[in-house]
Assembly symmetry: C2
Homo-oligomer: 125 residues x 2
């Protein structure tokens, strides 16, 4: 788990810089998004999806960082669809230090529903 | 952050033992549940709410533990309302080592919606 990668990821997401986020992802990355049961799989798909998803957030800032055996948790506060959202990004890494899995969970239900609505609209565009 | 408290909490939640969970909570505990924006505040309320909420889960087991500066994250997998749910409990502690804040986030949307439905029914009963 590279400290540099984690710091880069935090800064890039907070700044809404999709290219910088994509540069940190492994080719076979799995993105367990907060809305759908099925993950988004692979860099090729994420190159399309990540810029749209970053646009969904109206301000997102990380407030804490937690470390586990083989994953890191980045706690954030954000706004989406006019709603307050609290969430966490769980990151796993491959042998090269690239991000191999991102899992996002948010609360409350009103925030996740607003996020789902915004995600649907963004991905349809 | 007491290791004993964390291990006790994990075991008690997995076993659905409300009394054991309640014994770990500070009087002024804040419970940021995954569904409503407003938290449930205080032990007196949680003595009513926790037993009902534990009943909502059809199996919940912790799969990872993450440590931050002043909070711990317990990643879990569970079933609620016939749906698969992935989630995290974020715990904070007071000076006595009792749990002062619990924040729960889950994914995906279908899981949180099923959980919200089950929570509503359980709290109405």
């Amino acid at each position: 788990m590279s400290k540099g990668t984690i710091a880069d990821f935090r800064e890039a997401v907070e700044a809404g810089q999709a290219d910088r986020v994509l540069a940190l992802l492994a080719d076979e990355v799995t993105f367990n998004n907060p809305v759908t049961f099925q993950p988004f799989q692979g860099r090729v798909l994420l190159e399309v999806v990540v810029p749209k998803l970053l646009d969904v957030w109206q301000g997102l800032w990380y407030v804490d960082e937690l470390h586990g055996r083989d994953q890191v948790g980045l706690v954030f506060e954000a706004r989406a669809g006019g709603r307050d959202v609290w969430g966490i990004d769980l990151l796993r890494f491959d042998a090269e230090g690239l991000i191999s899995e991102v899992t996002v969970m948010v609360r409350p239900l009103s925030g996740l529903q607003a996020l789902a609505e915004e995600m649907r609209a963004a991905l349809a565009s």
